[in-house]
Symmetry: C2
């Protein structure tokens, strides 16, 4: 029992340092004065190092070994030891000097990427990316895997998921969505969305976002909404989960949807019970499950007909110049599907192609089937094949995302899995809550938050993504829910017969 107390105390220490670190990062992305960035980077480096040292402390290893043999632990403590042990061994697997060399190389790589993207100069970035792939492959060997080294990397974002499974999940998506996108373009009626452009002052947009977050049940006594360049959500500590958004004054809805998206992440983190604070369990189940929450609120709820019945009057109150725009028009305009080059600007239908492409390239890179030098051409080919658009330069092609420059291989699939998990969970929600549409139309969104809290949030990291999905829906990950949802909605929006 003394060991358990010491173990918990150690996790609290990690939690407190992590909390300081997270605040430093939040501030860096919201309020920091421009000239303070240099010193801040040093301070963040210091705190990150200290936090990491605690997570690989030998004494933590000793606690874990003892506690793993302790049969008297409560189920929650057992879960804590399980996930903390897993992280501990993963962190310990990499020799410190290898990791240190990697950290230096990664920092160079990120800077090189930034410059290369600005110049659209893949050749300048290529040696860095090669290094990142090389380190990642070494890490995969240290982490260990059954079938593919890529799986060892995916494990860091989507525990229990393998590249083979993802391929299985993707196949029907690709098969159905490629022709569907073509049909939308050739047979569909593109919605009119001209009224989304104009001048919509940030203050009004902010008021709309606040209304939406309040309706969702986001708890402002344990959070805040701030603005930033690249919106994010961050859990700074117990009862402190902050969301950020950005308002483009020439775009009516981009800020609102960014807020709904981050609000979904925020509700998840706020919904994790206080008894999991600082136990290693106070996080989402996986990146994909986290993304399922943000996508559900942004797309399945926020881009539904029912939502616009509720939200149109609020919108018109803020921007009276839109009083002639109907809820139906708003719904349609917020669901335009269009093949495009940039992932972060993609709609619900085409988004998944951006991920498939990255997943397939990562898979082959890490397993050594292709070389970094081949990427630009393979990228162009895949874009043309999947979406019928071809980037004219690498800046809008292979250089567009930051992830690879930081060796985040295995991260991208979580974005797509988030869409799929979200649809699968939402189908269950619709079954459980027969008056769901009616509730949304009334703006009565709290029951949705409660359902998610009960089914998803309260487990924190106790259940892995596949266990969680099984627990809630009784099924394995299945892309058919998403397919049905997206083809039905876009079929209606585009008036397909």
């Amino acid at each position: 029992m003394r060991t358990l107390a010491a173990y918990k105390a150690h996790l609290r220490e990690i939690g407190k340092l992590g909390s300081a670190l997270t605040l430093l990062q939040w501030d860096q992305r919201t309020y920091i004065p421009s000239r303070a960035n240099e010193a801040r980077a040093e301070t963040i480096g210091k705190l990150a190092k200290m936090t990491f040292e605690l997570t690989v402390a030998d004494k933590l290893g000793r606690y874990i070994e003892k506690l793993e043999k302790d049969e008297s632990l409560s189920p929650q403590d057992r879960a804590s030891v399980r996930v903390v042990a897993k992280d501990y061994r993963r962190n310990k697997a990499i020799p410190p000097d290898l990791f240190e060399r990697f950290a230096v190389a990664r920092s160079r790589s990120e800077s090189a990427w930034e410059k290369a993207r600005a110049d659209s100069d893949f050749a300048a970035f290529r040696p860095h990316l090669e290094e990142m792939v090389d380190y990642s492959r070494q890490f995969a060997e240290y982490y260990g895997y059954t079938e593919s080294p890529y799986d060892a990397l995916i494990e860091g974002f989507e525990p229990g998921m393998t590249s083979r499974e993802i391929r299985g999940i993707i196949a029907p998506l690709r098969e159905k969505l490629v022709p569907f996108v073509k049909r939308l373009q050739t047979e569909g009626t593109r919605p009119n969305d001209t009224f989304l452009k104009g001048h919509f002052p940030a203050a009004g947009q902010r008021a709309l976002s606040m209304r939406a977050l309040e309706a969702m049940g986001y708890d402002f006594s344990a959070g805040r909404l701030d603005t930033t360049v690249h919106p994010f959500t961050t859990a700074i500590g117990p009862s402190d989960v902050r969301v950020t958004t950005r308002f483009l004054e020439d775009n009516l809805l981009s800020g609102l949807y960014s807020s709904l998206h981050e609000g979904g992440h925020g509700l998840y983190d706020q919904g994790i019970p206080a008894e999991l604070d600082w136990t290693g369990l106070d996080q989402g189940s996986s990146f994909g499950i986290h993304e399922s929450q943000s996508r559900t609120w942004e797309n399945m709820i926020g881009r539904s007909q029912a939502f616009w019945s509720f939200f149109r009057p609020i919108l018109v109150q803020t921007f009276p110049e839109l009083s002639s725009v109907t809820a139906d028009a708003l719904w349609r305009a917020s669901n335009v599907a269009e093949p495009s080059l940039i992932r972060v600007e993609a709609d619900e239908v085409t988004y998944n192609f951006h991920i498939m492409l990255r997943f397939e390239l990562e898979d082959e890179l890490i397993t050594g089937k292709i070389a970094v030098a081949d990427l630009p051409e393979l990228w162009r080919d895949a874009m043309t094949r999947y979406l019928g658009v071809t980037p004219k330069d690498d800046a809008s092609g292979v250089l567009q995302d930051v992830h690879w420059s930081a060796a985040y291989f295995g991260y991208f699939p979580s974005y797509m899995l988030g869409n799929l998990y979200g649809a699968q969970l939402f189908a269950k929600l619709e079954k459980d809550m027969t008056d769901l549409g009616e509730r949304i139309r009334r703006g009565d969104l709290a029951p949705i938050r409660e359902w998610m809290r009960e089914k998803v949030h309260r487990f924190g990291r106790i259940l892995g993504p596949k266990e969680l999905l099984k627990e809630v829906t009784g099924e394995e990950p299945d892309s058919s829910y998403f397919l049905r949802y997206v083809m039905k909605k876009y079929g209606e929006v585009y008036r397909l017969r």
Copy 2:
């Protein structure tokens, strides 16, 4: 030379942890969600402990001892070692277990004070205050002193200053100001300030504060202005000095003066040269010198006739309903002197009495001439004697300030010394810059900032307060400058003959 590098690296580590700690505290007082306070207190406690441990690390002691003997050090390094050694020995002087007991008692004392003030119940606070006095007296013995134990405490805020000196500085102040306040009340014409009351939305007030800070030369690329309940300035790290203010919508000028005050502190911290960053020298000379900067901008500049010539058009642009109010009327209205019970609401003339009273009580408390139990009555007596007003309860008397509950004995004198230093520096500035009034009238305030930077800011903590004053003015601290200034201005405002 290896020792010097290790010493500097150690100070950088302290600096980085301190920077994280300061951001946690800034956030706690500006943006933290209400429910996050409990966990934040724990996180702050952890970082504070870690930072303190570094400041008393044995290896730092070894570096200091070696470097004190090193004759090859540059003047700046020598200054660094001098101030760091002083802090180190002071921190080390207190036995850790005594300090730990004190920290617990202080935390209880602060809570007890909060409740006691709300209930105006001195009896409930008395045992805690007795404990704080007792600890402070013990600390004074450990710190050491020549003449009075109170001096050992003053040293923590105003290095090199003694209670005997302060008494000498105060005597003429008291002698002149007691009759002067009476004269203002009996022979003076109180300015009309009714137009300061009304409804002045915070957004407009904020715009005014921003304009004022810009005019002062406060650097927004290395700082920010936020709002809070109790305004403060904080140096979070290199190129990150943030000021805060608060806007009372029923009061036209309180927010502006709060911004000018904090802006004065902010300019000081921003003016400390980058080469002093994280060397122990990157702070103000003393609490009193810091206060001299804030008071100069708030009162000597911000409450001058010249300032209102400059600022009236800006004010009227923001609040056109004031277009009939003249610069002269604004100047007079911002200089109302009135005996009152609460220190933080006091004007320039009466403020010093609030400090004298506290100084005299602290002096006698720490030297054992009076007991804590006597304080309420002694307080009432002194208020009546100095200002002719008598608190009807202890909440507006002896319980009004937080300082004693946290054992900050020796802090109050710095507030008054700040006024005196400020006037003494300002007299020198007026001599050096013969067109000062004309410049202020034009809103050309940058040269004032430059003068202060050159004469005061650039030394950081290299010079102590008395050395600094001597360096700039050639004189010892002298209250006659303040007396001349304040009696001249208020004599004019109140139209004394």
